[in-house]
């Protein structure tokens, strides 16, 4: 049916109303396209030329697949300049060499347009318009528009034909058509026997080379439909995904008018470039937006006094604020919107978020900060969430102090799958396996989970405190009836990462007394019949998850991070903008611009922030040093956390302590175990801070809301913190007021050495020091805390003896220790008196006793407040001498010297002498013998008393 174009006869010009001429110049010239693809069989066709028009390849197409389509361009000027020629060149034959001959400007122009005129019906023309990517919109500035052109057939016959021309908005100069498209045109040109020069021209056009074969039309369609997948929420993107994304982004770049298009106009919903890249996907179903609720406040005061100045979630862990880890964790999990609930210091949190990388336009997640000043617990905060209707779909609930590299996608998937089958499932708790006494577990805050092994439904929950130890757990027998396979687990780190359903905040609103997510919510849901809801658990094995709950976990997580358990969340991942940590052998992380002296020794697990200077002979081990920290010569730092801008002068030693930002240590300060120096405290020179000292610039009575400046100038205890010192001891009053066991707080302290605790049940039966029972409380019988205490006391005394401290300092230290451990003076005496008496050298008893007691007797005196105390002291001394089976005279000399120093008064001695205890009732004979050895002294005392009484009465008479 194809006739040679040259032999086509002159056609009947009489076209009726239903027919028209259509000029094809692009792929429609090709029979395959026109008749095959568009299903249009024309009545007639003619090869024609169109004077004053050129074939241009400047109609935008889809990038990489069909970069452009053909259009036509009208010659607008007769007198050709080079610029015009160049423009035409770029529009028509980009990619070929532009030649400019000023003498023959026409040479630079493409040949006149050749095309095929088809005689078709109006219906057919409509179909062409619909299929020709014109989008069918007249008011829309892209696509093709219809114009009339005058064509010449080879017989010089004139035909007025309708044809399509690209609208200006769709014109993209400098495009090259795809090889496929060019070939269609070339074939068509050949088929209709176009002028050979024109055919050659078509052959010389340079095709655009698509970069990959995989860029099929299909993939592009897919990617357009699923553009919401940006940025990737899944782990490693596939190769295809990268390509799709790249081409999508290119597409967006290529279609500048895309955002002005009416949405329906674009077949596949090309989103505006903004939408494709920012996670504000309006066109997606709400389920796909993953939200998280982050509790910036922990609703307890374990980090006081640090939290007077900074909210807990902004405290630095390994020189990065805690919140950063949580947000990073959520970003990896694919969370797109974070609701940040803060209570204390909301301004600081807001400022931080505002200036952080999360506030950038390209941030993967959007943070909404909500201030809940009245919330006192997690429950209150969640009720606030419910009131404000912040949540409309499932969300992840975490606190702002979680450090984790858990991939949540699997847990999320399971949670969603469960929701589909079990409507009552409202929560999935993400738990991490670890041994019960793992350092990263918050000691004393473990829990027991009863889990159905098959469905991983959580059947029962009970929280465990270390003290008082729970010995039994009550749960309903129904659990065993209903479930064949039940696990009761105590080996799970619960860092309170929960995937919650929308109902959870509402349930909190319904139950006004629920405070905690675990003790109240989970317990409540699982133990009550109504509302009938189920909670599931997801146990992760090989990733890391932990929460900074206490100073102890702070220390442990920091260690984990330095030894890379948290990989890829390690210092050298440089989470924050501007971080530049590099890993050095031996787990040393050093930022740029750190000045290390030649002789300093960095041990393992050390992190040093930029701008810090480390002096000569400094030894640092297991420690984190912040930015701009100055460390003088001969300083030893062990297991400590030194925050930004700290100044440490020469000769200081710091062990297992936290020095908050801006702290200054003058020369030769020793900071012992578990000290906490809050912001801008100054200590020194030449003092030793006893263990567990907490110093702050705030006064004790102050609450966080008051202005701190008022209290800054104030008389400080200079014996403790040195002549230049600035800071008050901060007593953790909360601990004693609260109904919880203070020992739970004690173990949460920084330097609590796990290895010294034997947390077995047998421990409670062990004996107590000095034979005297401290307390009948069964739990208190746990020797470990007592032993720990006495060891501390002994160490303090040893130091005092060796370094020849003044009695005042030693007494102060002991007193601090006593307060820190909440023990009594009796406990102190039971350790101190024997220690002092141990100093006495048996060989030269007389001199030695005198020497020792002259020096240290007053110390015993400081520990004695009343007459009962004196009696107690005597008992202790007796006990000591009895045990040591030393010279019986020791007791005599001790009592006599203490009497002479007016530490023990005669009434006390007499009372003791006459008491049952002293006689040694029920005790070895040695007690009695010791007492008897004092008989002469007591008699002398009595006589002396009588004498004085006589004198007194004599005087009266």
């Amino acid at each position: 049916m194809v006739k040679d174009a040259h032999t086509v006869e002159c056609v009947n010009e009489a076209i009726d109303d239903n027919h028209l001429w259509y000029l094809a110049y692009g792929s429609n010239m090709n029979k395959k396209t026109f008749q095959g693809l568009r299903k249009i069989v024309p009545l007639q066709h003619k090869a024609v030329t169109v004077p004053e028009y050129w074939l241009s390849l400047d109609m935008m197409g889809s990038p990489y697949i069909e970069p452009c389509f053909a259009s036509i361009v009208k010659r607008t000027r007769q007198n050709i300049t080079e610029g015009y020629a160049r423009e035409i060149h770029l529009r028509c034959k980009a990619g070929t060499l532009f030649k400019w001959n000023p003498d023959n400007p026409e040479e630079s122009l493409p040949p006149t347009l050749h095309g095929v005129a088809y005689l078709i019906t109006k219906e057919q023309f409509k179909r062409i318009l619909m299929t020709e990517g014109g989008w069918g919109y007249d008011d829309f500035p892209a696509g093709y528009s219809v114009i009339d052109v005058e064509c010449k057939t080879c017989d010089a016959e004139k035909i007025v034909a309708k044809t399509l021309i690209a609208r200006p908005a769709s014109v993209k100069i400098g495009c090259q058509a795809s090889e496929r498209y060019l070939n269609l045109m070339r074939e068509g040109a050949k088929e209709f026997g176009f002028d050979p020069t024109y055919q050659k021209y078509l052959f010389d056009l340079q095709p655009y080379r698509p970069d990959t074969q995989s860029h099929g039309v299909k993939s592009v369609k897919q990617l357009l439909a699923q553009d919401g997948a940006l940025p990737s929420t899944k782990g490693v993107p596939l190769k295809e995904e990268i390509q799709e994304r790249a081409s999508l982004q290119n597409l967006i770049g290529w279609l500048p008018y895309a955002k002005k298009m009416p949405a329906e106009a674009i077949e596949n919903r090309v989103h505006s470039d903004n939408m494709a890249l920012k996670p504000s996907r309006k066109n997606l179903e709400p389920e796909t937006i993953l939200k998280a609720v982050v509790l910036a406040d922990s609703f307890n005061e374990r980090f006081r006094p640090l939290t007077f100045d900074k909210p807990r979630c902004l405290l630095p862990l390994c020189n990065t604020p805690l919140l950063e880890y949580t947000l990073e964790f959520l970003a990896v999990a694919g969370v797109q919107e974070v609701v940040l609930l803060c209570k204390n210091h909301p301004e600081q949190i807001k400022n931080y978020v505002r200036s952080s990388k999360w506030n950038r336009p390209y941030s993967p997640l959007k943070i909404i900060t909500i201030v809940t000043p009245t919330a006192l617990s997690v429950g209150d905060a969640l009720r606030e969430v419910d009131n404000r209707h912040l949540i409309s779909s499932d969300f992840i609930l975490v606190s702002g102090d979680v450090v984790s590299n858990v991939q949540l996608d699997k847990a999320l998937e399971l949670h969603r799958a469960r929701k589909a089958t079990d409507k009552d499932s409202i929560m999935t708790m993400v738990l991490k396996e670890a041994s019960p006494f793992h350092r990263t577990r918050a000691l004393g805050e473990s829990s027991i989970f009863v889990i159905d092994e098959k469905t991983s439904e959580c059947l029962y929950y009970d929280s465990l405190k270390l003290f008082p130890r729970k010995r039994r757990m009550v749960m309903s027998m129904e659990v065993f009836d209903k479930h064949s396979n039940v696990q009761i687990r105590n080996d799970l780190i619960d860092c309170q990462i929960d995937i919650c359903s929308v109902e959870v905040p509402a349930l909190f609103s319904d139950n006004y007394d629920w405070q905690e997510i675990r003790q109240d919510f989970v317990y409540g849901i699982l133990t009550t019949e109504f509302p009938k809801k189920t909670i599931y658990s997801h146990v992760v094995k090989d990733s890391y998850a932990a929460r900074v709950r206490s100073l102890q976990t702070y220390n442990a997580i920091s260690k984990d991070m330095l030894s890379r358990w948290t990989y890829p969340i390690v210092p050298d991942s440089n989470l924050q903008e501007g971080d530049s940590y590099k890993y050095l052998r031996g787990h040393i992380y050093k930022e740029q611009d750190v000045i290390l002296s030649r002789s300093c020794v960095l041990g393992e697990n050390v992190q040093i922030g930029s701008g810090s200077e480390i002096g000569e002979n400094v030894k640092i081990n297991n420690s984190v040093i912040g930015r701009r920290v100055q460390i003088g010569a001969n300083v030893t730092i062990e297991g400590s956390h030194i925050w930004d801008d700290v100044k440490i002068s020469a000769g200081c030693t710091i062990s297992n302590s936290i020095l908050a930002a801006g702290v200054q240590l003058e020369e030769n300060v020793a900071v012992q175990e578990d000290c906490l120096l809050s912001y801008y405290v100054v200590v020194g020179p030449d003092v030793t801070l006893p263990p567990h000292t907490k110093l702050t610039r705030h006064t004790e009575s102050m609450t966080a809301t008051q202005d701190k400046k008022e209290s800054l100038d104030h008389d400080y205890d200079q014996t403790l913190i040195g002549v230049n010192g600035k800071g008050n001891i901060w007593e953790d009053t909360e601990l004693f007021v609260d109904d919880q066991d203070f020992r739970n707080a004690q173990i949460a302290s920084l330097a609590y050495d796990l290895s010294t605790v034997t947390l077995t049940d047998s421990g409670s039966e062990a004996s107590v020091i000095s034979g005297s029972s401290i307390s009948d409380d069964d739990d208190y019988g746990d020797t470990n805390s007592t032993e720990n205490f006495s060891r501390e006391v002994e160490q303090t005394l040893d130091r005092a003896f060796n370094e020849n401290h003044s009695v005042e300092i030693a007494a102060l230290e002991l007193n601090t220790l006593r307060m820190a451990t909440n023990t009594t003076f009796h406990d102190l005496r039971t350790v101190v008196i024997p220690s002092i008496l141990d100093l006495v050298k048996i060989e030269k008893l007389n001199e030695s006793v005198k020497e020792v007691l002259n020096k240290w007797g007053p110390l015993i005196g400081k520990l004695i407040l009343s007459e009962a105390d004196q009696v107690d002291a005597l008992n202790v001394s007796q006990g000591h001498c009895a045990k040591k089976d030393c010279d019986p005279k020791l007791l005599f000399w001790t009592i006599r010297l203490l009497y002479e120093q007016d530490i023990i008064e005669e009434d006390a001695i007499l009372e003791w002498y006459n008491s049952e205890n002293a006689r040694g009732a029920g005790r070895p004979d040695i007690y009695g013998q010791l007492r008897d050895s004092l008989t002469p002294f007591v008699r002398w005392l009595q006589e002396a008393e009588e004498e004085t009484e006589d004198e007194a009465s004599g005087d009266e008479t």
Partner: protein, 376 residues
């Protein structure tokens, strides 16, 4: 059309994914980098080549810093820079000729003869080093205005070259695998470790025609060797898995060691999965040839100054479970992901452009990267 914010978003998105290790592996990393750089070049306004180089370098620096252990990122950036430099040099020659033509056209009447002259000039200026520095886009920004265009021009050559590079990247595996027949012969015993896609395909390609056995070291603590062995078994290759400690013992029976690598440094040293050094050293002892299969994009112009500097220490979890609470406290556990293998232990590098001895690497580096770009 240029939307620098979008570009920034794209960049930051890739930076984020690199940092979070959501995109890993030299191949996917380099593809992602190449795609990003292509859109940087195609969507940004730039008027001269120096601006473009600066721009690409800035983006490149961010990417490199995001994940310094992925050396392929830097390599792709350097290669793109090289492409730009080359293109500008080519254009410069054309430019100098255009410039001449235009000038003369405006100010002289004998334009025709001058044009002729300048055509001949073209031939000379191609080798003229002064023309190199001129740069097409520097000198002819006025020309762009002549077009009445608002500066939105495609740099077709550069984009084309980058597309070619991406193409090459995608075909890289096939090009390497095609050489398998030259290196693996019938009845040979090949030893390898880890699970490199390149090596896997290489062995499978050879297995189509020849029969040989493969000994795979299991590569603890990740045991990637297990995966490789499984995959080889499935296509019918006679495969033996050995523990890493047996590498030395078995080496005496091995004809050839074929290794994959994460990166190759300028001196020919490998950054490869840990265990590689052990295998290479054992091979050296037994004088077994060591062949490294790698795409050219893994070749880095950087030198190693410290054996740890390109290494990546993973979580010790694989070595000692975190559950072992007591031990975790007391032991320091290092779990390096990579080994450094010094170049003297390697005999041949098979790249997508053919096999090269270690002494030839410097030429490959010079061909692919400009010395000015070594430090991005």
């Amino acid at each position: 059309m240029t939307n620098s914010r979008d570009l920034k978003a794209q960049t930051e998105s890739l930076v984020g994914r690199l940092r979070r290790r959501q995109v890993t592996g030299s191949f996917s990393v380099s593809l992602a980098t190449a795609f990003l750089l292509r859109s940087v070049i195609s969507t940004t306004r730039w008027t001269d080549v120096d601006t473009l180089i600066k721009l690409v370098k800035n983006v490149g620096r961010k990417l490199v810093q995001a994940q310094p252990s992925e050396l392929a990122v830097g390599n792709i950036v350097r290669h793109v820079l090289r492409v730009i430099r080359d293109a500008s040099n080519d254009e410069a020659t054309e430019a100098s000729f255009m410039e001449h033509a235009e000038d003369k056209n405006l100010f002289t009447s004998q334009s025709h003869s001058v044009f002729k002259q300048s055509t001949s000039l073209l031939d000379y200026s191609a080798k003229d080093s002064s023309a190199r520095s001129a740069g097409f886009y520097t000198s002819s920004s006025s020309m762009i205005n002549l077009l009445g265009d608002n500066g939105l021009r495609q740099p077709p050559n550069i984009i084309q070259e980058i597309n070619e590079m991406i193409n090459e990247l995608e075909n890289m595996y096939v090009n390497i695998w095609d050489q398998a027949m030259e290196h693996i012969h019938t009845n040979e015993i090949i030893m390898t470790l880890g699970s490199s896609k390149t090596v896997e395909g290489f062995l499978k390609a050879a297995a189509k025609k020849r029969k040989f056995s493969v000994v795979v070291a299991e590569t603890s603590p990740r045991y990637l060797g297990h995966d490789l062995a499984l995959s080889l078994c499935q296509v019918g290759i006679d495969t033996t898995v050995i523990s890493d400690s047996a590498i030395f013992a078995v080496m005496s029976r091995v004809n050839k060691v074929i290794l994959g690598t994460h990166a190759v440094l300028a001196n020919g040293g490998l950054i490869a999965i840990s265990g590689t050094r052990l295998m290479a050293a054992a091979a050296k002892h037994h004088s077994t040839p060591v062949v490294v299969c790698m795409g050219l994009y893994k070749l880095s112009p950087l030198f190693l100054y410290d054996e740890d500097s390109f290494n990546d220490l993973e979580s010790p979890e694989n070595v000692l479970s975190f559950d072992e609470g007591d031990l975790v406290d007391k032991a320091t556990i290092l779990n390096p992901y990579y080994d450094y293998v010094s170049p003297e232990l390697v005999d041949l590098y098979i790249t997508n452009t053919g096999g090269h001895p270690p002494s030839y690497l410097y030429r490959l580096i010079n061909e692919n990267y400009d010395p000015e770009d070594t430090v991005i």
